[in-house]
Amino acid sequence: MTQVKAWAGYLLPKLGQFLFVVVATYTLVFVLVHFLPGDPLIAALAAKGGASTVIDPAELDALRVQYGLDGTLWQQYFGHLIAAAQGDLGISIATGVPVTEMIGRAFPFSVQIASLALLFGVTSAVLITFLAYAAPWPWLRQLLLQIPPFGIAVPAFLSGLLLISVFAFTLGWLPSAGARSFDAAILPAITLALPVGALFFQVFSSAVLEAQNSPYVFTAVAKGVPPRRIFTKHLLRNALLPSITILGLLIGYLAGGTAVVETVFSRDGIGRMTVNAVLARDINVIQGVVLVVGAIYALVNLLVDVAYGFIDPRTRIGGGVPSRARLGAKK
């Protein structure tokens, strides 16, 4: 019973925060779209039919109703919000297809490369950190530590085009475009993994470095623990803990990154869909995508918080009466 209460006390505020971020994201996009100069519908129609498109006012009003852009701003704001809560994100101005359906179709392709990229990126970051940690010579360590700052500075379109020109055109090992086969996901995933892995590396390696100079590692050395065991038993867990908090940030990076990567590799997906929507000034689609991405970001952060509560004994839930040590520390 107390356990349940403790979890509720821990989770409810975080759940509230999650809902707040989602609603506030929606609000932010709504404000940006409607308060920046220009009528969004006319801009979209102009993009569709050319700058000289002339539409008679009655037809325009009908279109406004169709795309949910009629009524006062308050009506629109709450109307869209309620509809969104029921899973209805409106209809695309450019294609006439429901936005929910468009996102549902594009989503799996993006998730495929994003999760692969996360896997590649995090694994290689941990691996490089371990190699640098275990490197017997300082110069090798320095060299390894130079890789990630490089990864952050490489524009995704450059690394993507390089990979295409080497592995697709020169060697012919992997396809340069498309999204139909698993093969086709590898090059885009590597492209995305580069900045994501580098970002993770920055946080992770500095956590390892900090842990490495910490007194508890000294204690382990003085105990006679061999280096590999020190890394796995003492450093890794302590360093991963602060690192998982940037997972949400990485998801944001991935979402932004897909726009470029999917364009470079001519792949279907959320990113390319967004780019096309912006080119068509299709605000309904843009709004829908941002809402979904914001919700995913908030959800990941929620999961990270929960995971933290499980993993770190210092924040573990329902841990009985605080000991004297904790009382002293709070002083």
């Binding site: 707040f20 971020v21 506030a24 994201t25 609000t27 932010l28 996009v29 940006l32 779209v33 920046l36 100069p37 220009g38 969004p40 801009a43 700052p149 490089f150 952050i152 500075a153 490489v154 524009p155 995704a156 379109f157 450059l158 085009l161 390089l162 295409i164 020109s165 055109f169 944001g252 990076y253 979402a255 932004g256 990154g257 726009a259 470029v260 364009t263 470079v264 967004t274 780019v275 929507a277 912006v278 080119l279 000034r281 605000i283 843009i286 995508v289 941002v290 991405v293 914001g294 970001y297 908030a298």
Partner: protein, 265 residues
């Protein structure tokens, strides 16, 4: 400055200086007119005459890259200014005033951070129309959130320092504490962060121009150059890879200098 003894830092400074000259006075560095097509010299490989080769219309790629610096770097700089000014002011107020003001401001910042920078920039671009200025505003807005966070955490860190409490018990007034203690001690990390943000902004701006949201052609923005060369990547990979590499080199230089300012190594 001990930094001047590090070769990486000096090389970074030289590259940045060249980039600045290119964006302010491109005619000093360019070898050709960046818009002039020579019909007979199409898709040539790099040579002494055309340092980076020519594009599909027979224009000198090197001169186009040089002339592209102005648009690309100026949008990036504008983005950083927007992000830094907005973010720093918001973070400073939030951290120094504290309490409920801080709480409310930070919830707004949370939202700015929840939307990935590229998407935020896309919304702004979709609303304001394409072009370098709306690009810069979008990218800047995307950076403002994390900037506000950094500034706030710096202010909070310094505020909890014992010398700030000491100043209070000496009878120093709050505004004087802000000016004499908080700002001088926050300056260095914030400047370093702004410098680092410059690298990120160059990348974001070039990504967005690559996607086609920048100035209309034939303006030689760096991202647009890469995009234009894409169709020839099978036969003339240099056409997109060389401008891409230029972006990489400039970003590396900026980041290297930024890290030295921050005292990272």
């Amino acid at each position: 400055m001990t930094n001047l003894r590090k070769p990486g830092f000096v090389l970074g400074l030289i590259i940045i200086a060249v980039a600045i000259v290119a964006s302010l006075a491109p005619q000093l560095l360019a070898t050709h007119d960046p818009f002039e097509s020579v019909a007979t010299d199409r898709l040539l490989p790099p040579s002494a005459q055309y340092l980076f080769g020519t594009d599909n219309l027979g224009r000198d790629l090197y001169s186009r890259v040089i002339y592209g610096a102005a648009l690309s770097l100026l949008s990036a700089s504008l983005a950083v200014v927007v992000g830094v000014v907005v973010g720093a002011i918001v973070g400073l107020i939030s951290g120094f005033v504290g309490g409920r003001t801080d709480f409310i401001i930070m919830r707004f910042v949370d939202v700015l951070i929840a939307v990935p920078g590229v998407l935020l920039a896309l919304i702004v671009v979709a609303s304001l129309g394409f072009g370098p200025v709306s690009l810069a505003l979008g990218v800047g807005l995307g950076a403002a959130g994390s900037f506000a966070r950094v500034m706030r955490s710096q202010v909070l860190r310094i505020r909890s320092e014992e010398y700030v409490e000491a100043a209070r018990t000496l009878g120093v007034r709050s505004p004087a504490i802000l000016v004499q203690h908080v700002l001088p001690n926050a300056a260095r990390p914030v400047i370093a962060m702004a410098a680092l943000e410059m690298g990120t902004a160059i990348l974001s701006v070039s990504a967005l121009t690559f996607l086609g949201f920048g100035a209309p052609p034939p303006a030689p923005e760096w991202g647009a150059l890469v995009s234009a060369g894409r169709d020839y990547v099978a036969t003339n990979p240099g056409l997109s890879i060389i401008p891409g590499a230029v972006i990489l080199v400039v970003v590396l230089a900026v980041n290297r200098v930024a890290r030295s300012i921050g005292g990272d190594e």
